[in-house]
């Protein structure tokens, strides 16, 4: 029996249970157990289609239509879900070291994991919209958990804009339904390719792009996302950024599948490339100006999101593969960086000028964070290098050498602010007294374990990128646009 829906259903079920028993004494233990269960989930499904409720393909006037909701699993989706669950597990493990952990945190993380995996797995546009909304509300909720005034403010602002962007996306889904008579993405794409385009389809495309920019944190929505990441606890930001990166990948793939073969796609591609380049440059320039380590990392997330979107927007096989690979790598090293930021915040303060000399207090953590930083800049032998190289190749073969120059410039900027942060936090000399103060704070083994595991994965993927690339390449060729 194909157990594919359990990837979504088990976290949902447990989320409801956790939100009901949120005050229980055994929350920590249960959270750890749940983390173990999550690791098994990606292995449950079989490759191929899965029809909900047994409603399979029907033929109406000779055209095949999927009558119900269709999920598919393929190696690409499996890799994405595995990365997602891995980071979810590490965040849950770290959360058990928090003082006031309650079931609501675990419930929200599980809800987010379930909804993002549904967004990745689904082949149905309305189903995607439903889970996209759940993911948006979950992200706001995870920020509210921090309980500070600015967290409330940024979450409220995110939801306010989210209501607008979500309704626009829903309207787009409705327009596409009316224009094609189906909600299945493959069926819709086939129908659109057969019939001449109407303004309805253009409107739908416009609305999908708005939804994509909101869900993935592309400009002009990037300031909202940055607020979210920087106002919450940094280890929560690790899972938040993973959610939005994977939603970005999923929605990009949807746009490619729907509009890939159409004459409008050239313009769409231009718009998407412009958006992603804006994200790259804006993120880097703003990160250079920050004093708060959390905000710096948040802007870095935006700029790397631009890389991911750039690769996918090219629409070539290599571009799609490079974009998705960079998304996976980014999720790994960025989570490591955010966990590092959590340790820094725990020891002293998130403001870079108030810390200094942490190298002497915790050499292991410093080394691990340095590795994650090098991965994020794109230095061999880490994974960031592999995916950025692949991206540069893809952009080059798509005949846009200017963008490669821009990517290099942005990389130099990334190097500069990452090293600036590293110097200010870890290397800047500090007094004996401060050092003693640092040494009093105990860093839990769970934090170091999570950090170490992520950095190890970064190195492994940097040395053997084929492990992931082999799984992505066939799918990239299938989706790509000639």
């Amino acid at each position: 029996m194909n157990l594919l829906p359990l990837i979504v259903v088990i976290p949902l079920l447990m989320a409801i249970v956790f939100s009901y028993i949120y005050r229980s004494k055994y929350i920590r233990l249960l959270t750890l157990l749940m983390a173990l269960v999550l690791l098994v989930l990606p292995l449950l499904g079989l490759y191929g289609p899965y029809f909900f409720g047994g409603h399979g393909v029907v033929y109406i006037e000779g055209m095949p239509f999927v009558s119900g909701i269709l999920y598919t699993l393929n190696p690409l989706k499996e890799t994405l879900i595995f990365t997602l669950m891995l980071i979810g597990v590490l965040v849950l493990i770290i959360s058990t070291r928090e003082e006031r952990l309650s079931g609501t945190f675990t419930a929200l993380v599980l809800m987010g994991l379930a909804s993002v995996s549904a967004v990745i797995l689904t082949e149905d546009l309305f189903n995607l919209y439903v889970f996209y909304e759940i993911a948006a509300i979950t992200q706001a909720g995870l920020v509210i958990l921090a309980g500070r005034e600015e967290a409330y403010r940024s979450a409220f602002r995110y939801l306010l804009v989210g209501t607008m962007a979500g309704s626009i996306l829903l309207l787009g889904v409705g327009l596409l339904l009316s224009a094609t008579g189906s909600l299945n993405i493959v069926d819709m794409g086939r129908y659109l390719a057969l019939k001449p385009l109407t303004p309805t389809v253009y409107g739908a495309l416009l609305m999908l792009i708005v939804g994509l920019a909101y869900g993935g944190g592309l400009p002009p929505f990037h300031t909202l996302k940055v607020d979210l990441y920087s106002r919450t606890k940094p280890f929560v930001a690790a899972i938040l950024q993973t959610y939005s990166k994977f939603i970005l990948i999923a929605l990009m793939l949807v746009i490619l599948k729907l509009f890939g073969g159409l004459p409008i796609f050239n313009t769409t591609r231009g718009v998407l490339i412009a958006l992603s380049v804006f994200a790259m440059v804006f993120g880097t320039v703003m990160a250079l100006l920050q004093d708060d380590y959390r905000r710096l990392l948040a802007y870095h997330t935006v700029s790397q999101g631009g890389y991911v979107a750039l690769g996918l927007a090219l629409g070539t096989p290599l571009g799609i593969v490079a974009g998705i690979f960079h998304g996976i790598n980014h999720a790994l090293y960025k989570s490591a960086l955010f966990i590092g930021a959590h340790i820094v915040e725990k020891i002293k303060s998130p403001y870079m000028r108030e810390v200094g000399g942490l190298l002497l207090a915790m050499p292991t953590v410093t080394f691990l964070i340095l590795c994650a930083k090098l991965a994020s800049i794109g230095i061999p032998p880490f994974n960031g290098f592999q995916s950025k190289l692949l991206l540069a190749e893809a952009v080059m073969s798509a005949d846009m050498p200017e963008l490669v120059i821009l990517m290099l410039i942005v990389s130099i900027g990334t190097f500069l602010y990452m090293m600036k942060a590293f110097y200010l936090i870890f290397l800047k000399p500090c007094s004996e007294e401060q050092l003693r103060e640092y040494r009093e704070v105990r860093i839990s083994k769970y934090h170091i374990f999570s950090l170490g595991l992520l950095v190890l994965l970064c190195i492994v993927l940097g040395l053997y990128p084929d492990m992931v690339l082999d799984r992505l390449l066939p799918l990239g060729e299938e989706i790509a646009i000639e």
């Binding site: 079920l13 909701i69 549904a118 979950t138 921090a146 069926d187 416009l206």
Partner: protein
């Protein structure tokens, strides 16, 4: 922040463009029937909307329920449920003494509110249970019942409300409704291999007793009941949160 006139003009222009685009695309809609032909030809239950919602696209309905669940959970967190840090909320609720103020309305409203509430509740139950035959269903019925509860609470105040649901009870009801939906889906998966499969009968016994001639009802009424419980509890929970200070005080560890 001061906004210059240039920016205002730019905003109005861009909204004009966007609005024109949306209007143009909606104006030129030509509806293609597509897969909907199937939905209108195959009869599962007499109410075709319910058939689409709970049979063809049951998983979407589950997702919609979960949107509500998540919203209720997040609303609870806005009022202090399980936060990492309560300093801000403690500051906001500094001067509240943790007691609920029950104002209540005049006797005219009170006298009218009780029968209205009872009627609304009964109507809600009918709408939920008959969701597969007549117009309506879990969402509508649940909203009716919670409207009845809100009406009674507004008229009498929370303390003296004739319809007494405690906060904990509502939370349990909500979780139970959602779990019912999820577990019915799992049972379908065990029996047929498909999640949310509409099980017609088990060993020849129909799952829901209904007169002949109204199609294969299967698990649809149970799904309706689950959704109804969830919606009624969710909306009522949000209302109690807005009305009551006591819950917030309890959440933030005072009282």
């Amino acid at each position: 922040m001061k906004i210059t006139i240039t920016r205002e003009i730019a905003v109005s222009l861009s909204f004009l463009l966007f609005g024109a685009g949306v209007f143009y695309s909606i104006y030129s809609i030509e509806v293609v029937e597509g897969v909907n032909a199937l939905y209108t030809q195959v009869m599962i239950v007499p109410n075709f909307v319910t058939a689409v919602l709970f049979d063809w696209r049951g998983f979407d309905t589950l997702g919609e329920c979960l949107i509500l669940i998540t919203s209720v959970l997040v609303t609870g967190m806005v009022f202090g449920k399980g936060l990492f840090n309560w300093d801000f909320l403690r500051e906001v609720y500094r001067e509240e003494d943790g007691k609920d103020v029950d104002l209540g309305f005049t006797p005219i409203i009170k006298v009218l509110a009780v029968p209205m509430a009872v009627l609304l509740m009964v109507l809600g139950v009918v709408v939920i249970l008959g969701g597969h035959i007549t117009p309506g269903g879990g969402f509508q019925g649940g909203a009716l019942i919670s409207a009845a509860y809100v009406l009674a609470m507004v008229a009498f105040g929370r303390g003296r409300c004739p319809v007494r649901f405690t906060h904990r009870f509502l939370e349990s009801l909500e979780s139970f409704g959602a779990l019912l939906f999820l577990i019915l889906g799992l049972i379908g998966m065990i029996l047929s291999g498909y999640y949310l499969f509409n099980i017609r009968e088990i060993y020849g016994i129909p799952l829901f007793p209904s007169p002949p001639g109204i199609g294969d009802v299967g698990i649809i009424p149970y799904l309706n009941i689950g959704v109804g419980l969830k919606v009624l509890a969710g909306l009522s929970t949000i209302t109690t949160l807005l009305v009551s200070h006591r819950i917030v005080s309890k959440n933030i560890g005072r009282g």
